[in-house]
Symmetry: C2
Subunit: 398 residues, 2 copies
């Protein structure tokens, strides 16, 4: 494993792949350096009961198995990649990453998107309500969120069709229907739920790691003109539901121990159900690349509401969890302009277009643009571990 | 079949049941008079390939089979219940409805809730924004909707736990967390998607009945105090996500031919993708019963946006459909006070409590209250057909 690999031996994120160009069945793998370890094949060497979880077209069965199984699997995996030698047969089960096809890592049950970055929420407030307070009165009390469309969560690389929809042209009083003129991305981290909960039983912040298996990267593509016209009073709908892209790899929480940091200090007291004993801020640095140029570096460590807050809030009304639930942080933005997680903020609603090295500029994403998210976090060995890419190219509206 | 049965031979809604008190496996049945016809057992008499769709714990496989199969199955079913006699063996497969247990009829993929009743939207406007126009500027152009939580859609009879959440007490500036003080119901009809669509390809209004199998009844339980505090700017979230109850029976569109009526006239021109050639208004009369007293009769025929409009809008941005998608109309309210589909409207936000025959009054639902929805529509034979009950009893917050 090369020293600067995003997939060091202490990371071992899990995903679902098919090897080679074959039409072979999907199976669970772990990323290691430039390779993918076929866990279905390698696991058979152990004779353990959980190896059956690897012969599956999604991580869902493994997610449902819960923290004890996750721990055993990770222990075996760490041991395996650190001690086995070629003679053990492990190398027979390593596929070059360039020769595998990655799939959606899990079947998404419900998808929730939060709004947890204070910098993002304040930027949006400044842009859309320049005369008012940047943050709405509820923001420091409520981890604001909404349900998105689970059926349009797609794996990295899937085409992103420019959505059509209703928008109100400048100075018009009636809407038009057509391709969005304000296509945006949103750089986010996502939490993947493994263990379900019962309806009527809130999950306290302290049980976050008993339910959540790990973290992926998320691009919640957005159409800002559709959003502006439709969002009153029930929130964003078609502006978001056309596509959400996630990373092929889910990094187990257990691999993120070194990334754990305190959440930013509370600026007003939070209600008791949102108090927290453990640090679940995550020092994950995101990188946003547009057509090959890095345009932003949003820092997830800045998120005001952590994954543990979000989970406690999501279930505070007794809503139950299912295996495969995905909830994302909302756009991650830092305090600096070059740390913004959306075009809306980077080009300040079109008022200061982004200059690209090819001499063009962007206020919003154009057809043919390729947007790629990457991220890294501190790893056990002092290096950094990655999440894989979240890549999407904008196709013209069909 | 008794003449006034909600389940006449021309209705034949489908659901999922287990017979008797046994722990037998779930299977597909049709409601007929006071009985449930075991389609898994009866279907074997036909030797047709689609009988395998009945040996399933949900309608999803049948839903996915598409309109040709739906038509064949309905034809066989109509023929079967009209001509077979006891000697045919059909009676061996009829279970008294009182002796079966009904389940969630289908696995819900994504759940969307619209806001399609003009009377409801205007009532909400008058209550919450008394100084402004009752309808927001986008309402007559956009079938407003949002995604709800699919994982908390439950079958009739499941307990409804009073949700806790954040709300802002009167004249307070900081929120409290506790059981909702404003628990409400919402009487709605729901559309059940059978045939999926491709991402990037909107489904035009004219293809509504190629994708939608049928209609169920929906109670979208709501917590108005949570909603008021959380809904800006991303819409309702915990105020809705704790529970949504649906009827055990899905009435096929094919059984609703006589119920089809024109939608109310457009008061402003709609965009082309929302124009419609066929009438898909549905003359479904809903009845709301609180603790045994009928308190309202909302008329679904009044819905401004029909199921066909809703489907075209839902997919107008290229969002794909999956088998098992459920989208509901939003609260159905008619022009009269006694046609309101929510407590919010019936008691006008607490300002004129509902008087019940037991001498008590209600502004909102109390612990122990039982709320039941029923509905009927014109049937082929001149009678009326039903949807079964949507019943829920409010349990104290755990």
């Amino acid at each position: 494993v090369p020293d600067d690999s995003p997939f060091p031996p202490g990371g071992l994120p899990l995903g679902v792949f098919t090897p080679g160009t074959s039409r072979g069945r999907k199976r669970v793998g772990a990323a290691l350096g430039d390779h993918v370890l076929d866990l279905d094949a390698a696991g058979h060497l152990t004779g353990r009961s959980w190896t059956r979880l690897f012969a599956a077209p999604s991580l869902n069965r493994l997610l449902a198995a819960g923290p004890a199984a996750w721990g055993e699997i990770r222990e075996w995996l760490l041991e395996t990649v650190s001690t086995r030698t070629d003679s053990s047969g492990l190398h027979d089960h390593l596929w070059p990453r360039s020769q595998v096809r990655m799939h959606l890592p899990f079947q998404v049950a419900d998808y929730v998107d939060f709004y947890s970055s204070e910098h993002h929420a304040a930027n949006v407030g400044k842009i859309l309500r320049p005369a008012g307070q940047p943050l709405l009165p509820n923001w420091r009390h409520v981890p604001i969120g909404y349900h998105g469309r689970a059926g349009t969560v797609v794996p990295s690389g899937a085409p992103v069709y420019r959505p059509k929809g209703q928008y109100l042209p400048d100075e018009a009083s009636t809407p038009e229907y057509g391709p969005t003129q304000k296509l945006d991305f949103e750089a986010e981290i996502g939490f993947v739920v493994g263990v379900p909960s019962q309806r009527g039983e809130p999950v306290p912040t302290g049980r976050f790691d008993q339910h959540v298996f790990g973290v992926c990267l998320v691009n919640d593509w957005s159409a800002r003109d559709l959003q502006a016209w439709e969002y009153v009073p029930l929130g964003p709908f078609l502006a978001k539901s056309f596509c959400t892209t996630i990373s092929p790899w889910v990094v187990p929480l257990a691999a993120l121990d070194r990334a754990r940091v305190p959440a930013p200090p509370r600026t007003v007291p939070t209600l008791e159900y949102l108090s927290i004993d453990e640090d679940w801020g995550l020092d994950i640095d995101i990188e946003v690349e547009l057509n090959g140029t890095v345009v932003s570096r949003p820092p997830a460590a800045d998120l005001y509401w952590t994954g543990a807050h979000q989970l406690a809030h999501l279930t505070a009304n007794g809503a139950s969890l299912r295996t495969g639930d995905l909830y994302a942080s909302g756009t991650v933005s830092g305090p600096e302009a070059a740390q913004s997680g959306s075009m809306l903020e980077l080009a300040w609603n079109g008022s200061r277009p982004l200059q690209l090295p090819d001499g063009t500029e962007r206020s919003w994403l154009q057809d043919g643009d390729t947007l790629t998210l990457r991220a890294s976090a501190p790893a056990e060995d002092g290096g950094r571990l990655g999440f894989g890419e979240v890549m999407g190219t904008v196709e013209p509206a069909p």
